[in-house]
């Protein structure tokens, strides 16, 4: 506490420019901090799995020797379409039994049900949330624009691995993809 900052008699109202500048810097920095929350939030999510987004790894990074064949985890695949995207989107196989540490391939199928070309983009989400920290994909169609010709059907594979360090109490993991219409998102 700055007990010494008591001003002098009669000369009280001098506010130094330096102090004013400091005070102005706080809101300016905090405005920046508001935006910094965006990457911070992503980091936070990566550490805690907060928003259920999945990780991505290179196939070469995965140590196949760490396969834990003593454990079986059930993986459920679900698919949604958001904000009026006229596509049929579904997993080819809805359930899989897997061993942590091994790489698996799953397939989603998407069919355009419109007579115009259409563009969608998929967003993944994993439940339960802590599992997303251990759910990695080596190949995925998500976060990329996918353009379908009228009536086109396309199979979209994902290759994924659930790390062997998945907590013991997680016995079932759900992977969800939502395809969003991104045509309306123009400027």
């Amino acid at each position: 506490m700055s007990e010494n900052s008591v001003a002098n008699n009669n000369q009280q109202n001098k506010v130094s420019n330096k102090q004013l500048l400091k005070l102005v810097m706080i809101p300016v920095l905090m405005f920046g901090f508001g935006f910094a929350l965006v990457p911070l939030y992503d980091v936070f999510c990566e550490v805690t799995g907060l928003n259920g987004k999945t990780g991505r790894v290179e196939a070469s990074e995965i140590n196949q020797k760490q396969v834990d064949t003593s454990r079986t985890v059930k993986v459920k695949f679900i698919a949604n379409t958001g904000n009026g995207l006229p596509w049929r989107f579904e997993p080819v196989v809805t359930d899989m039994e897997i061993h942590p540490g091994e790489i698996y391939e799953a397939m989603y199928r998407v069919t355009s049900r419109t007579d115009k070309p259409s563009v969608g983009q998929a967003v993944p989400s994993v439940s339960p949330v802590p599992a997303s920290l251990h759910f990695n994909k080596t190949e995925c169609f998500c976060f990329l624009n996918q353009e379908l010709a009228p009536g086109e059907t396309r199979d979209m594979p994902i290759r994924f691995v659930i790390n062997h360090d998945l907590p013991e109490d997680i016995v079932e993991v759900t992977l969800s993809y939502t395809f969003f219409n991104i045509e309306q998102k123009q400027g």
Partner: protein, 527 residues
């Protein structure tokens, strides 16, 4: 206010005449008055919207308004009350009182003071104009969660965003001014730990303001770019995350609720000792409790989001941190009760409002503790139980303290005593009606009525009707308050310089009533 009638053209210390006095004024008392009037107008405006809400909810079925307009009403009511009524009222009180309390002639940055006020009428005109726009006013709640406030919002949202920016700039400028004043302009001998608690709590509040208002500005800027410039901060389709909006909003929003209650703590800590004729119990623990509440307020934001699907670890942390706030808040309440203990109490109007504050703010605190318990919040979240909680804290808390402050200091401001009988009627009328209004909302919330709905199932009908009746009565009581305010400004029994037997502080001990246009041109001596 009364000085307006006695101005003297040749006198250096009098105010200028006419309308331009108010437009160009740099006097802390004039600006304080402007803030207080703005806040009163906003209170009545937001209150009128609340009347529309309560009228529609008077009975089940839709009788008066369309659901979309109803949502606009809840949205505008919240925004106007938070940013237009409560916050400017506290800034107005700060302007009036802080220089007098610390022995300063004026605020440190008088010209900026003028600006920070005059931005506000424009901001609120802009916000209110959205009601007349095609597509309707913003209807996404005062918390404006994305994507309802981005992809799915009406065009008027851009005006809302700009208005929020202006309010933020005004608040930040006001807060910088207050900090500069408190840090630089204290009279000799007025050490920090001798400052009245109102000054202390405002100093802390001002730091909260400059820390979080810019975060709100950042959030609405991101909304703006999401809406118009193709970014996807909050849009899942583009890889963004709507839940992140809530994190950023509540990082601002939770400190914001303390911005609206800390100055109230300062007011109550001034009034209770006066009428108990006994010094405030635990002054330094009050200061430390205020500071710890402010610091904790940055660490608990996600307790507003227990149902968004946070991981268990996060929910546990935010639950523990939240209920921890009960400790410093409890200390304050215990201190106030101990101040009354073995005092020599009288019950003039300001004391009644202060006692009403302590009782009902505590009830709001209890429901706050209940809401903080994460698993139970599953049932409380987004119901009328929450509505009851924050109205107990903000109406019978913040608003009651503002009204108490008016009655307590208005004799010093105008030189006139208010009418004691009318003041007491105002208190009892308000207190009975406000409990009729908000207490039943606890029950309908627990029984399962979600908030922000224009129509409800039949089993909630009885309590909603009681609540509406209480609402109309409480609304009317504040129109009555307007009458009391005008009457007091126009005249009344002359106040003594001390005003209250047992009042302490420079404004009562060293200034006449009414306080001169420029107080403390020479700094007073503080023992």
């Amino acid at each position: 206010m009364s000085t307006a009638t006695t101005h003297d053209e040749h006198h250096d210390h009098g105010p200028a005449s006419g309308l331009m006095r108010w437009v160009t004024t740099t006097n802390h008392k004039d600006i304080g008055t402007l803030y207080l009037w703005l806040s009163f107008i906003m209170l009545l405006t937001g209150g009128a919207m609340a009347m529309v809400i309560r009228a529609e909810l008077f009975q089940p079925g839709l009788q008066l308004v369309e659901p979309n307009f109803f949502n606009s009403m809840t949205t505008m009511h919240g925004l106007i009350m938070v940013f237009g009524a409560i916050m400017p009222a506290f800034v107005g009180l700060a302007n009036w009182l802080i220089p007098m309390m610390i022995g300063a002639p004026d605020m440190a940055l008088p010209r900026m003071n003028n600006w920070s006020f005059w931005i506000l009428p424009f901001a609120f005109t802009m916000l209110a104009s959205t009601l007349l726009m095609e597509g309707g006013a913003p209807a996404f709640g005062w918390t404006f969660y994305a994507p309802l406030s981005t992809t799915y919002a009406p065009d008027s949202t851009d005006f809302f965003i700009f208005a929020v920016h202006l309010m933020g700039i005004s608040s930040v400028m006001g807060a910088i001014n207050i900090i500069a004043t408190i840090l630089n302009m204290r009279a000799p001998g007025m050490t920090l730990m001798k400052m009245p608690l109102f000054v202390w709590t405002w100093l802390i509040t001002a730091y909260l303001l400059i820390a979080v208002m810019p975060v709100l500005a950042g959030a609405v800027t991101m909304m703006l770019t999401d809406r118009h410039f193709g970014t996807s901060f909050f849009d899942a389709a583009g890889g963004g995350d709507p839940v992140m909006f809530q994190h950023i909003f509540w990082f601002f929003g939770h400190p914001e609720v303390y911005i609206m209650i800390l100055p109230a703590f300062g007011i109550i800590s001034a009034i209770i000792p006066t009428f108990a004729r006994k010094p405030l119990f635990g002054y330094s623990s009050m200061v430390y409790a205020s500071a710890s509440i402010a610091i904790l307020s940055f660490m608990v934001w996600a307790h507003h989001m227990f149902t968004t699907g946070m991981p268990v670890a996060g929910e546990l942390y935010f639950m523990y941190a939240t209920i921890l706030i009960a400790v410093p808040t409890g200390v304050k309440i215990f201190n106030w009760v101990s101040t009354m203990w073995k005092g020599s109490m009288t019950f003039e109007t300001p004391m009644l409002w202060a006692l009403g504050f302590v009782v009902m703010f505590t009830i709001g605190g209890f429901s706050g503790l209940m809401l903080g318990v994460a698993p139970v919040d599953t049932q409380y979240h987004d119901t009328y139980f929450v509505v009851a909680h924050f109205h107990y804290v903000l109406v019978t808390g913040a608003l009651y303290s503002i009204i108490a402050a008016f009655y307590y200091w208005v004799p010093k401001w105008t030189g006139n005593m208010y009418d004691e009988k009318l003041g007491k009627i105002h208190f009892w009328w308000s207190t009975i009606s406000v409990n009729l209004l908000f207490f039943p909302q606890h029950f309908i919330g627990l029984a399962g009525m979600p908030r922000r709905i224009p129509d409800y199932a039949l089993q909630f009908a009885e309590f909603n009707m009681i609540s509406s009746i209480g609402g109309f009565a409480f609304g009317l009581a504040q129109v009555f308050f307007l009458y009391i305010v005008v009457k007091t400004i126009k005249g009344g029994e002359k106040a003594t310089d001390e005003v209250w037997e047992g009042a302490t502080g420079l404004e009562f001990e060293q200034l006449p009533s009414p306080a001169p246009y420029h107080s403390f041109n020479t700094a007073p001596e503080v023992k």
